[in-house]
Protein backbone atom coordinates (compact mmCIF):
# COMPACT_ATOMS: atom_id res chain seq x y z
CA UNK A 1 0.00 0.00 0.00
CA UNK A 2 1.32 3.42 -0.91
CA UNK A 3 0.45 6.35 1.31
CA UNK A 4 0.64 9.75 -0.23
CA UNK A 5 0.80 12.60 2.23
CA UNK A 6 -0.49 15.96 1.17
CA UNK A 7 1.15 18.55 3.36
CA UNK A 8 -0.92 21.64 3.80
CA UNK A 9 0.78 24.94 3.48
CA UNK A 10 -1.81 27.33 4.79
CA UNK A 11 0.24 30.40 5.50
CA UNK A 12 3.88 30.48 4.55
CA UNK A 13 6.72 32.09 6.38
CA UNK A 14 6.85 35.70 5.30
CA UNK A 15 10.11 37.49 5.87
CA UNK A 16 10.69 41.23 5.88
CA UNK A 17 7.05 41.82 5.16
CA UNK A 18 5.56 44.97 6.60
CA UNK A 19 3.82 43.01 9.32
CA UNK A 20 2.82 46.02 11.36
CA UNK A 21 0.59 47.35 8.62
CA UNK A 22 -1.03 44.00 8.02
CA UNK A 23 -4.76 43.87 8.65
CA UNK A 24 -4.91 42.78 12.29
CA UNK A 25 -8.31 41.12 11.86
CA UNK A 26 -6.68 38.74 9.42
CA UNK A 27 -4.10 37.66 11.99
CA UNK A 28 -4.78 34.05 12.80
CA UNK A 29 -4.64 32.84 16.39
CA UNK A 30 -1.85 30.49 15.43
CA UNK A 31 0.39 33.01 13.73
CA UNK A 32 3.68 34.09 15.31
CA UNK A 33 4.69 37.61 14.35
CA UNK A 34 8.08 39.21 14.88
CA UNK A 35 8.04 42.92 14.15
CA UNK A 36 11.50 44.53 14.02
CA UNK A 37 12.59 42.45 16.96
CA UNK A 38 16.01 42.96 18.48
CA UNK A 39 17.20 41.27 21.63
CA UNK A 40 20.30 42.29 23.52
CA UNK A 41 21.93 40.29 26.30
CA UNK A 42 23.87 43.12 27.87
CA UNK A 43 26.29 44.14 25.14
CA UNK A 44 25.79 40.92 23.16
CA UNK A 45 23.13 40.83 20.49
CA UNK A 46 20.98 37.70 20.50
CA UNK A 47 18.59 38.58 17.71
CA UNK A 48 19.03 41.46 15.31
CA UNK A 49 16.10 43.29 13.71
CA UNK A 50 13.99 40.28 12.79
CA UNK A 51 10.72 40.86 11.02
CA UNK A 52 8.78 37.81 9.98
CA UNK A 53 5.45 36.12 10.24
CA UNK A 54 5.29 32.39 10.82
CA UNK A 55 2.03 30.75 9.95
CA UNK A 56 0.48 27.27 10.07
CA UNK A 57 2.51 24.32 8.87
CA UNK A 58 5.99 23.27 9.89
CA UNK A 59 8.70 25.88 9.81
CA UNK A 60 12.26 24.80 10.40
CA UNK A 61 14.58 27.11 12.24
CA UNK A 62 18.13 26.40 11.26
CA UNK A 63 21.35 27.88 12.53
CA UNK A 64 24.66 27.04 14.11
CA UNK A 65 25.19 27.33 17.85
CA UNK A 66 24.72 30.93 18.97
CA UNK A 67 22.82 31.87 15.82
CA UNK A 68 19.78 33.02 17.78
CA UNK A 69 17.44 30.03 17.42
CA UNK A 70 16.81 29.56 21.13
CA UNK A 71 16.48 33.32 21.63
CA UNK A 72 13.82 33.41 18.94
CA UNK A 73 11.93 30.53 20.56
CA UNK A 74 12.23 32.06 24.04
CA UNK A 75 10.88 35.35 22.71
CA UNK A 76 7.98 33.54 21.03
CA UNK A 77 7.22 31.62 24.24
CA UNK A 78 7.26 34.81 26.31
CA UNK A 79 10.23 33.84 28.46
CA UNK A 80 12.17 36.81 27.18
CA UNK A 81 10.98 40.26 26.21
CA UNK A 82 12.40 41.93 23.12
CA UNK A 83 14.70 44.90 23.67
CA UNK A 84 13.16 46.51 20.59
CA UNK A 85 10.13 45.56 18.54
CA UNK A 86 7.27 43.27 19.34
CA UNK A 87 6.51 39.55 19.32
CA UNK A 88 2.89 38.43 19.03
CA UNK A 89 1.02 35.16 19.06
CA UNK A 90 -2.07 35.92 17.01
CA UNK A 91 -3.09 39.33 18.27
CA UNK A 92 -1.69 38.80 21.77
CA UNK A 93 1.68 39.87 23.12
CA UNK A 94 3.84 36.77 23.43
CA UNK A 95 4.67 37.42 27.10
CA UNK A 96 1.01 37.79 28.12
CA UNK A 97 -0.71 35.09 30.15
CA UNK A 98 -3.41 34.66 27.51
CA UNK A 99 -0.82 33.99 24.79
CA UNK A 100 0.63 31.16 26.86
CA UNK A 101 -2.62 29.23 26.49
CA UNK A 102 -1.92 29.17 22.76
CA UNK A 103 1.64 27.89 22.88
CA UNK A 104 3.26 24.57 23.66
CA UNK A 105 6.96 24.92 24.36
CA UNK A 106 9.47 22.10 24.41
CA UNK A 107 12.87 23.27 25.76
CA UNK A 108 16.14 21.85 24.48
CA UNK A 109 17.49 20.72 27.85
CA UNK A 110 16.70 17.39 29.46
CA UNK A 111 15.96 18.64 32.99
CA UNK A 112 12.58 17.49 34.28
CA UNK A 113 11.02 16.91 37.69
CA UNK A 114 13.19 13.86 38.35
CA UNK A 115 11.18 12.62 41.33
CA UNK A 116 8.01 12.26 39.26
CA UNK A 117 6.91 9.55 36.89
CA UNK A 118 6.38 10.54 33.27
CA UNK A 119 2.62 10.36 33.70
CA UNK A 120 2.73 12.44 36.86
CA UNK A 121 4.85 15.06 35.11
CA UNK A 122 2.54 15.41 32.11
CA UNK A 123 -0.52 15.41 34.38
CA UNK A 124 0.99 18.14 36.56
CA UNK A 125 1.84 20.28 33.54
CA UNK A 126 -1.70 19.82 32.24
CA UNK A 127 -3.19 20.75 35.63
CA UNK A 128 -1.21 24.01 35.49
CA UNK A 129 -3.49 25.01 32.60
CA UNK A 130 -6.46 24.92 34.95
CA UNK A 131 -8.35 21.98 33.49
CA UNK A 132 -10.70 20.01 35.77
CA UNK A 133 -9.04 16.88 37.15
CA UNK A 134 -11.06 14.40 35.03
CA UNK A 135 -10.04 16.26 31.90
CA UNK A 136 -6.42 16.40 33.07
CA UNK A 137 -6.35 12.61 33.40
CA UNK A 138 -8.06 12.08 30.06
CA UNK A 139 -5.78 14.48 28.18
CA UNK A 140 -2.69 12.94 29.80
CA UNK A 141 -3.69 9.43 28.74
CA UNK A 142 -4.37 10.58 25.18
CA UNK A 143 -1.18 12.58 24.76
CA UNK A 144 1.01 9.82 26.19
CA UNK A 145 -0.50 7.47 23.64
CA UNK A 146 0.18 10.01 20.92
CA UNK A 147 3.89 10.28 21.78
CA UNK A 148 4.16 6.51 22.20
CA UNK A 149 4.84 6.52 25.94
CA UNK A 150 1.67 4.86 27.31
CA UNK A 151 3.50 1.69 28.29
CA UNK A 152 6.35 3.56 29.99
CA UNK A 153 4.29 6.29 31.62
CA UNK A 154 4.74 4.95 35.16
CA UNK A 155 8.52 5.01 34.95
CA UNK A 156 10.38 7.55 37.12
CA UNK A 157 11.86 10.35 35.06
CA UNK A 158 15.19 9.96 36.85
CA UNK A 159 15.54 6.52 35.25
CA UNK A 160 14.42 7.52 31.75
CA UNK A 161 16.71 7.65 28.72
CA UNK A 162 17.26 10.87 26.80
CA UNK A 163 14.87 9.79 24.06
CA UNK A 164 12.13 8.99 26.58
CA UNK A 165 12.60 12.36 28.24
CA UNK A 166 12.27 14.06 24.87
CA UNK A 167 8.93 12.34 24.35
CA UNK A 168 7.65 13.33 27.80
CA UNK A 169 8.74 16.90 27.06
CA UNK A 170 6.82 16.78 23.81
CA UNK A 171 3.81 15.39 25.67
CA UNK A 172 3.78 18.29 28.13
CA UNK A 173 3.87 20.72 25.20
CA UNK A 174 0.97 18.96 23.48
CA UNK A 175 -1.27 18.17 26.42
CA UNK A 176 -3.29 21.40 26.42
CA UNK A 177 -3.85 21.27 22.64
CA UNK A 178 -2.12 24.56 21.78
CA UNK A 179 -2.21 26.32 18.41
CA UNK A 180 1.49 27.05 18.25
CA UNK A 181 4.26 24.55 18.98
CA UNK A 182 7.74 25.80 19.71
CA UNK A 183 10.16 22.90 19.72
CA UNK A 184 13.80 23.54 20.54
CA UNK A 185 15.96 20.74 19.11
CA UNK A 186 13.28 18.05 19.66
CA UNK A 187 15.14 15.32 17.76
CA UNK A 188 18.22 15.32 19.99
CA UNK A 189 18.87 11.84 21.36
CA UNK A 190 15.99 10.18 19.53
CA UNK A 191 16.64 7.04 17.47
CA UNK A 192 15.68 6.93 13.75
CA UNK A 193 12.45 5.02 14.43
CA UNK A 194 11.48 7.51 17.09
CA UNK A 195 12.30 10.41 14.77
CA UNK A 196 9.89 9.06 12.19
CA UNK A 197 7.16 8.75 14.83
CA UNK A 198 7.75 12.32 15.99
CA UNK A 199 7.86 13.54 12.40
CA UNK A 200 4.50 11.85 11.78
CA UNK A 201 3.09 13.49 14.90
CA UNK A 202 4.29 16.93 13.78
CA UNK A 203 2.87 16.35 10.29
CA UNK A 204 -0.50 15.52 11.88
CA UNK A 205 -0.39 18.76 13.87
CA UNK A 206 0.48 20.74 10.76
CA UNK A 207 -2.38 19.04 8.91
CA UNK A 208 -4.71 20.29 11.64
CA UNK A 209 -3.68 23.84 10.72
CA UNK A 210 -1.36 24.38 13.66
CA UNK A 211 1.89 26.28 13.61
CA UNK A 212 4.96 24.18 14.35
CA UNK A 213 8.31 25.91 14.71
CA UNK A 214 11.17 23.42 15.05
CA UNK A 215 14.76 24.43 15.64
CA UNK A 216 17.81 22.41 14.80
CA UNK A 217 21.43 22.88 13.86
CA UNK A 218 21.31 19.82 11.61
CA UNK A 219 20.03 20.43 8.11
CA UNK A 220 18.95 16.82 7.51
CA UNK A 221 16.70 16.91 10.62
CA UNK A 222 14.82 19.86 9.23
CA UNK A 223 14.67 18.96 5.58
CA UNK A 224 12.60 15.82 6.18
CA UNK A 225 10.18 17.80 8.28
CA UNK A 226 9.72 21.43 7.36
CA UNK A 227 7.66 23.10 4.66
CA UNK A 228 9.60 26.30 5.08
CA UNK A 229 12.99 27.07 6.53
CA UNK A 230 14.35 30.13 8.25
CA UNK A 231 18.14 30.13 8.52
CA UNK A 232 19.66 32.31 11.22
CA UNK A 233 23.26 33.38 11.56
CA UNK A 234 24.64 35.65 14.27
CA UNK A 235 21.16 36.74 15.24
CA UNK A 236 20.08 37.69 11.73
CA UNK A 237 17.94 35.86 9.19
CA UNK A 238 20.36 34.86 6.44
CA UNK A 239 18.06 32.80 4.24
CA UNK A 240 14.46 31.77 4.17
CA UNK A 241 12.06 29.98 1.91
CA UNK A 242 10.93 26.53 0.92
CA UNK A 243 13.30 23.61 1.10
CA UNK A 244 14.02 23.57 -2.69
CA UNK A 245 14.85 27.29 -2.52
CA UNK A 246 17.31 26.73 0.32
CA UNK A 247 18.73 23.68 -1.45
CA UNK A 248 19.27 25.77 -4.56
CA UNK A 249 21.22 28.30 -2.53
CA UNK A 250 23.34 25.54 -1.07
CA UNK A 251 23.91 23.87 -4.42
CA UNK A 252 25.85 26.89 -5.64
CA UNK A 253 28.12 26.64 -2.64
CA UNK A 254 31.76 25.62 -3.40
CA UNK A 255 32.32 22.21 -1.93
CA UNK A 256 35.41 20.10 -1.29
CA UNK A 257 34.80 16.42 -2.00
CA UNK A 258 37.25 13.64 -1.22
CA UNK A 259 37.16 10.53 -3.41
CA UNK A 260 39.13 7.35 -2.77
CA UNK A 261 39.53 5.42 -6.00
CA UNK A 262 41.49 2.36 -7.15
CA UNK A 263 42.95 4.24 -10.10
CA UNK A 264 42.70 7.94 -9.34
CA UNK A 265 44.58 9.52 -12.28
CA UNK A 266 42.20 8.57 -15.16
CA UNK A 267 39.30 9.53 -12.89
CA UNK A 268 40.93 12.91 -12.17
CA UNK A 269 41.39 13.49 -15.91
CA UNK A 270 37.69 12.82 -16.49
CA UNK A 271 36.62 14.96 -13.56
CA UNK A 272 38.55 18.09 -14.55
CA UNK A 273 36.76 17.97 -17.90
CA UNK A 274 33.44 18.50 -16.10
CA UNK A 275 32.12 22.06 -16.07
CA UNK A 276 31.15 21.78 -12.37
CA UNK A 277 34.71 21.04 -11.26
CA UNK A 278 36.95 23.96 -10.36
CA UNK A 279 40.07 22.00 -9.43
CA UNK A 280 41.40 18.60 -8.49
CA UNK A 281 44.41 17.36 -6.43
CA UNK A 282 45.69 13.78 -6.40
CA UNK A 283 47.49 12.32 -3.38
CA UNK A 284 48.06 8.60 -3.61
CA UNK A 285 44.66 7.01 -4.15
CA UNK A 286 42.85 10.11 -2.84
CA UNK A 287 41.36 12.81 -4.98
CA UNK A 288 40.30 16.17 -3.59
CA UNK A 289 37.85 17.86 -5.90
CA UNK A 290 36.65 21.47 -5.60
CA UNK A 291 33.23 21.83 -7.11
CA UNK A 292 30.31 24.21 -7.47
CA UNK A 293 26.75 22.94 -8.02
CA UNK A 294 27.26 19.93 -5.81
CA UNK A 295 24.04 18.15 -6.75
CA UNK A 296 24.94 18.25 -10.46
CA UNK A 297 28.49 17.14 -9.68
CA UNK A 298 27.31 14.03 -7.82
CA UNK A 299 25.11 13.05 -10.80
CA UNK A 300 28.03 13.47 -13.19
CA UNK A 301 30.31 11.34 -11.02
CA UNK A 302 27.70 8.56 -11.08
CA UNK A 303 27.56 8.78 -14.87
CA UNK A 304 31.35 8.59 -15.13
CA UNK A 305 31.43 5.49 -12.96
CA UNK A 306 28.80 3.80 -15.11
CA UNK A 307 30.15 4.90 -18.48
CA UNK A 308 33.95 4.73 -17.95
CA UNK A 309 34.09 1.94 -15.38
CA UNK A 310 35.93 3.84 -12.62
CA UNK A 311 36.03 2.15 -9.23
CA UNK A 312 35.30 4.47 -6.33
CA UNK A 313 35.82 3.12 -2.80
CA UNK A 314 34.62 6.13 -0.87
CA UNK A 315 33.29 9.60 -1.55
CA UNK A 316 32.65 12.22 1.09
CA UNK A 317 32.14 15.92 1.37
CA UNK A 318 34.76 17.55 3.58
CA UNK A 319 32.78 20.67 4.45
CA UNK A 320 29.16 19.53 4.68
CA UNK A 321 28.93 20.49 8.37
CA UNK A 322 26.30 22.93 9.52
CA UNK A 323 28.90 25.54 10.35
CA UNK A 324 30.24 25.52 6.77
CA UNK A 325 26.73 25.72 5.35
CA UNK A 326 25.80 28.70 7.55
CA UNK A 327 29.13 30.37 6.87
CA UNK A 328 28.43 30.10 3.18
CA UNK A 329 24.90 31.44 3.46
CA UNK A 330 26.10 34.23 5.67
CA UNK A 331 28.76 35.25 3.14
CA UNK A 332 26.07 35.29 0.46
CA UNK A 333 23.91 37.51 2.66
CA UNK A 334 26.72 39.99 3.21
CA UNK A 335 27.63 40.00 -0.48
CA UNK A 336 24.06 40.78 -1.48
Amino acid sequence: MVTIRFRRRLLPLVLNDDVMTADSSAVAECEVTFAEVTKFYGAVIGLNDLTCRIGPGITGLLGSNGAGKSTLLKLASGQLRPTLGEVRIGSLRADSTAAKRLIGYCPDHAHLYEEMTGEDFVRTMCALHGFPWDEVCQRTTEVLKEVGMSDRARRKLAGCSHGMRQRFKLAQALVHDPQVFLLDEPMTGIDPGGRQEINDLLFRLADQGKTVLVSSHILSDIETLADRILVLGRGRPIASGSLPEIRRLLDDRPLLVEIIADDPRPLAADLVALSQVQGCDVQGNRLRVRTKQAAEFYVQVQNLVLQRGHTIRQMQSLDEGAEAVFEYLQQGKHAS
Binding site: Q79, H111, M125, L128, G130, D184
Partner: protein, 252 residues
Protein backbone atom coordinates in the same frame (compact mmCIF):
# COMPACT_ATOMS: atom_id res chain seq x y z
CA UNK B 1 -12.18 29.29 37.71
CA UNK B 2 -9.52 27.95 35.36
CA UNK B 3 -6.95 30.36 36.81
CA UNK B 4 -7.86 29.35 40.35
CA UNK B 5 -7.49 25.67 39.51
CA UNK B 6 -4.13 26.34 37.83
CA UNK B 7 -2.94 28.26 40.88
CA UNK B 8 -4.11 25.48 43.21
CA UNK B 9 -2.23 22.93 41.08
CA UNK B 10 0.92 25.05 41.29
CA UNK B 11 0.54 25.44 45.04
CA UNK B 12 0.14 21.67 45.41
CA UNK B 13 3.19 21.05 43.23
CA UNK B 14 5.30 23.57 45.17
CA UNK B 15 4.27 22.21 48.57
CA UNK B 16 4.84 18.61 47.55
CA UNK B 17 8.29 19.37 46.10
CA UNK B 18 9.35 21.24 49.24
CA UNK B 19 8.01 18.67 51.67
CA UNK B 20 9.69 15.71 49.99
CA UNK B 21 12.98 17.46 49.32
CA UNK B 22 16.36 16.62 50.81
CA UNK B 23 16.19 20.02 52.50
CA UNK B 24 13.44 18.83 54.84
CA UNK B 25 15.76 16.09 56.04
CA UNK B 26 18.70 18.48 56.29
CA UNK B 27 16.65 20.88 58.42
CA UNK B 28 15.37 18.07 60.64
CA UNK B 29 18.92 17.04 61.57
CA UNK B 30 19.88 20.21 63.55
CA UNK B 31 16.36 20.34 65.01
CA UNK B 32 16.81 16.82 66.38
CA UNK B 33 20.33 17.67 67.57
CA UNK B 34 19.03 20.61 69.60
CA UNK B 35 16.32 18.41 71.12
CA UNK B 36 18.95 15.92 72.26
CA UNK B 37 21.01 18.76 73.72
CA UNK B 38 17.98 19.97 75.74
CA UNK B 39 17.48 16.48 77.15
CA UNK B 40 21.15 16.24 78.06
CA UNK B 41 21.28 19.73 79.58
CA UNK B 42 18.31 19.05 81.91
CA UNK B 43 16.67 22.50 81.98
CA UNK B 44 13.67 20.92 83.74
CA UNK B 45 15.80 20.12 86.78
CA UNK B 46 16.99 23.70 87.35
CA UNK B 47 15.56 25.64 90.33
CA UNK B 48 14.20 28.18 91.09
CA UNK B 49 11.89 28.61 88.06
CA UNK B 50 13.35 32.09 87.31
CA UNK B 51 16.81 30.57 86.89
CA UNK B 52 15.40 27.76 84.78
CA UNK B 53 13.53 30.28 82.58
CA UNK B 54 16.59 32.46 82.20
CA UNK B 55 18.77 29.48 81.22
CA UNK B 56 16.18 27.99 78.83
CA UNK B 57 15.26 31.43 77.45
CA UNK B 58 18.91 32.25 76.73
CA UNK B 59 19.33 28.88 75.05
CA UNK B 60 16.22 29.39 72.93
CA UNK B 61 17.27 32.88 72.07
CA UNK B 62 20.67 31.83 70.83
CA UNK B 63 19.61 28.62 69.09
CA UNK B 64 16.48 29.93 67.39
CA UNK B 65 17.49 33.47 66.45
CA UNK B 66 20.99 32.61 65.26
CA UNK B 67 20.60 29.13 63.92
CA UNK B 68 17.32 27.23 63.67
CA UNK B 69 15.06 29.95 62.28
CA UNK B 70 17.54 31.05 59.58
CA UNK B 71 18.18 27.40 58.68
CA UNK B 72 14.46 26.54 58.45
CA UNK B 73 13.70 29.69 56.45
CA UNK B 74 16.69 29.05 54.23
CA UNK B 75 15.80 25.39 53.70
CA UNK B 76 12.36 26.23 52.35
CA UNK B 77 12.67 29.88 51.33
CA UNK B 78 15.58 29.72 48.91
CA UNK B 79 14.74 26.31 47.52
CA UNK B 80 11.07 27.03 46.78
CA UNK B 81 12.05 28.99 43.70
CA UNK B 82 15.82 28.48 43.73
CA UNK B 83 15.59 24.74 43.17
CA UNK B 84 13.30 25.25 40.16
CA UNK B 85 15.88 27.64 38.80
CA UNK B 86 18.93 25.52 39.52
CA UNK B 87 17.26 22.38 38.14
CA UNK B 88 16.06 24.38 35.10
CA UNK B 89 12.44 23.32 35.63
CA UNK B 90 11.26 26.90 36.11
CA UNK B 91 10.84 27.10 32.34
CA UNK B 92 7.87 24.71 32.59
CA UNK B 93 6.15 27.08 35.02
CA UNK B 94 6.95 30.26 33.13
CA UNK B 95 5.46 28.92 29.90
CA UNK B 96 2.10 28.07 31.56
CA UNK B 97 -0.79 30.54 31.58
CA UNK B 98 -0.12 31.57 35.16
CA UNK B 99 0.91 35.18 35.83
CA UNK B 100 4.43 35.46 37.16
CA UNK B 101 3.36 37.02 40.43
CA UNK B 102 1.14 34.00 41.05
CA UNK B 103 4.09 31.66 40.44
CA UNK B 104 6.04 33.44 43.17
CA UNK B 105 2.98 33.68 45.42
CA UNK B 106 2.46 29.92 45.18
CA UNK B 107 6.10 29.33 46.09
CA UNK B 108 5.83 31.67 49.08
CA UNK B 109 2.54 30.21 50.28
CA UNK B 110 3.96 26.69 50.02
CA UNK B 111 7.04 27.59 52.06
CA UNK B 112 5.27 29.47 54.88
CA UNK B 113 3.46 26.51 56.52
CA UNK B 114 6.54 24.33 56.22
CA UNK B 115 9.01 26.78 57.75
CA UNK B 116 6.64 28.13 60.38
CA UNK B 117 5.42 24.59 61.12
CA UNK B 118 8.92 23.29 61.58
CA UNK B 119 10.03 26.23 63.73
CA UNK B 120 6.92 26.17 65.90
CA UNK B 121 6.81 22.37 65.98
CA UNK B 122 10.38 22.07 67.18
CA UNK B 123 9.89 24.96 69.61
CA UNK B 124 6.81 23.25 71.08
CA UNK B 125 8.68 19.96 71.36
CA UNK B 126 11.56 21.59 73.23
CA UNK B 127 9.10 23.33 75.54
CA UNK B 128 7.35 20.03 76.19
CA UNK B 129 10.70 18.43 77.08
CA UNK B 130 11.44 21.20 79.60
CA UNK B 131 8.02 21.15 81.29
CA UNK B 132 6.18 24.11 82.97
CA UNK B 133 9.01 26.59 82.29
CA UNK B 134 8.94 25.47 78.66
CA UNK B 135 5.20 26.01 78.37
CA UNK B 136 5.66 29.52 79.75
CA UNK B 137 8.35 30.18 77.14
CA UNK B 138 6.05 28.87 74.39
CA UNK B 139 3.25 31.18 75.52
CA UNK B 140 5.55 34.22 75.63
CA UNK B 141 7.78 33.71 72.62
CA UNK B 142 5.60 32.27 69.84
CA UNK B 143 4.81 35.66 68.19
CA UNK B 144 8.52 36.54 68.04
CA UNK B 145 9.37 33.13 66.53
CA UNK B 146 6.72 33.53 63.82
CA UNK B 147 7.80 37.13 63.14
CA UNK B 148 11.45 36.18 62.73
CA UNK B 149 10.65 33.17 60.57
CA UNK B 150 8.57 35.26 58.19
CA UNK B 151 11.21 37.99 57.99
CA UNK B 152 13.98 35.50 57.14
CA UNK B 153 11.68 33.68 54.74
CA UNK B 154 10.91 36.91 52.87
CA UNK B 155 14.60 37.79 52.66
CA UNK B 156 15.56 34.36 51.36
CA UNK B 157 12.78 34.39 48.77
CA UNK B 158 14.25 37.66 47.56
CA UNK B 159 17.67 35.98 47.38
CA UNK B 160 16.13 33.15 45.32
CA UNK B 161 14.54 35.56 42.89
CA UNK B 162 17.64 37.70 42.50
CA UNK B 163 20.61 35.33 42.56
CA UNK B 164 21.64 32.29 40.57
CA UNK B 165 22.86 30.23 43.55
CA UNK B 166 20.75 31.56 46.41
CA UNK B 167 21.28 28.71 48.87
CA UNK B 168 25.01 29.18 49.22
CA UNK B 169 24.64 32.90 49.45
CA UNK B 170 21.84 32.68 52.01
CA UNK B 171 23.83 30.22 54.10
CA UNK B 172 26.83 32.51 54.23
CA UNK B 173 24.58 35.49 54.94
CA UNK B 174 22.56 33.79 57.69
CA UNK B 175 25.37 32.06 59.54
CA UNK B 176 28.09 34.68 59.23
CA UNK B 177 26.90 38.08 58.09
CA UNK B 178 23.79 38.22 60.27
CA UNK B 179 25.64 37.15 63.41
CA UNK B 180 28.52 39.44 62.65
CA UNK B 181 26.40 42.50 61.87
CA UNK B 182 23.97 41.91 64.77
CA UNK B 183 26.84 41.93 67.25
CA UNK B 184 28.60 45.01 65.95
CA UNK B 185 28.60 48.02 68.26
CA UNK B 186 26.73 51.15 67.28
CA UNK B 187 23.86 51.42 64.86
CA UNK B 188 25.17 49.05 62.16
CA UNK B 189 23.54 46.12 63.97
CA UNK B 190 20.17 47.63 63.11
CA UNK B 191 20.66 46.22 59.61
CA UNK B 192 20.31 42.64 60.89
CA UNK B 193 17.05 40.73 61.30
CA UNK B 194 18.74 38.86 64.12
CA UNK B 195 19.07 42.07 66.15
CA UNK B 196 15.34 42.86 66.02
CA UNK B 197 14.47 39.23 66.73
CA UNK B 198 16.70 39.13 69.77
CA UNK B 199 15.42 42.51 71.00
CA UNK B 200 11.89 41.14 70.76
CA UNK B 201 12.77 37.94 72.61
CA UNK B 202 14.56 39.83 75.40
CA UNK B 203 11.66 42.28 75.65
CA UNK B 204 9.05 39.53 75.81
CA UNK B 205 11.01 37.49 78.36
CA UNK B 206 12.03 40.36 80.63
CA UNK B 207 8.99 40.07 82.92
CA UNK B 208 9.59 36.35 83.40
CA UNK B 209 13.23 36.63 84.44
CA UNK B 210 15.21 36.70 81.19
CA UNK B 211 18.19 39.01 81.64
CA UNK B 212 19.50 41.22 78.84
CA UNK B 213 23.28 40.72 78.51
CA UNK B 214 25.50 43.63 79.44
CA UNK B 215 26.21 45.98 76.54
CA UNK B 216 23.35 44.75 74.35
CA UNK B 217 20.95 47.61 73.70
CA UNK B 218 17.51 46.43 72.78
CA UNK B 219 14.96 48.38 70.76
CA UNK B 220 11.40 48.78 72.09
CA UNK B 221 9.13 45.85 71.29
CA UNK B 222 6.81 47.88 69.04
CA UNK B 223 9.77 49.01 66.99
CA UNK B 224 11.10 45.44 66.78
CA UNK B 225 7.70 44.14 65.65
CA UNK B 226 7.43 47.00 63.17
CA UNK B 227 10.88 46.35 61.73
CA UNK B 228 10.25 42.60 61.34
CA UNK B 229 6.90 43.29 59.67
CA UNK B 230 8.50 45.95 57.47
CA UNK B 231 11.35 43.65 56.41
CA UNK B 232 8.84 40.88 55.64
CA UNK B 233 6.51 43.03 53.56
CA UNK B 234 9.37 44.97 51.93
CA UNK B 235 11.33 41.87 50.89
CA UNK B 236 8.22 40.14 49.54
CA UNK B 237 7.26 43.25 47.55
CA UNK B 238 10.72 43.68 46.08
CA UNK B 239 10.78 39.95 45.25
CA UNK B 240 7.44 40.24 43.44
CA UNK B 241 8.59 43.28 41.46
CA UNK B 242 11.92 41.69 40.63
CA UNK B 243 10.34 38.38 39.58
CA UNK B 244 7.81 40.15 37.39
CA UNK B 245 10.53 41.79 35.31
CA UNK B 246 13.51 39.48 35.61
CA UNK B 247 14.47 37.43 32.58
CA UNK B 248 15.99 34.07 33.43
CA UNK B 249 18.37 33.36 30.58
CA UNK B 250 19.94 30.40 32.33
CA UNK B 251 16.87 28.16 32.20
CA UNK B 252 17.70 26.44 28.93
Amino acid sequence: MNSLRAFAALLRLSFRRLLWSVNTLMVLLPVTGCGLFILRRGFHKLTPPETAFDAFGSFLLFVFSSFLIPICALGFGTTALGAEREEQTLVFLLTRPIPRWQVLLAKILASIPLSCGLVMGSFACYCWLVGPVGWLALKIYWPAMIGMTLAYLALFHLFAVAFRHPTMLALVYALFMELFVANLPGSVKRLAINYYGRSLLYGLGADSGLKVPKGFEIVPMTQAYGMLAGITVGCFLVAFLFFQWKEYRDLT
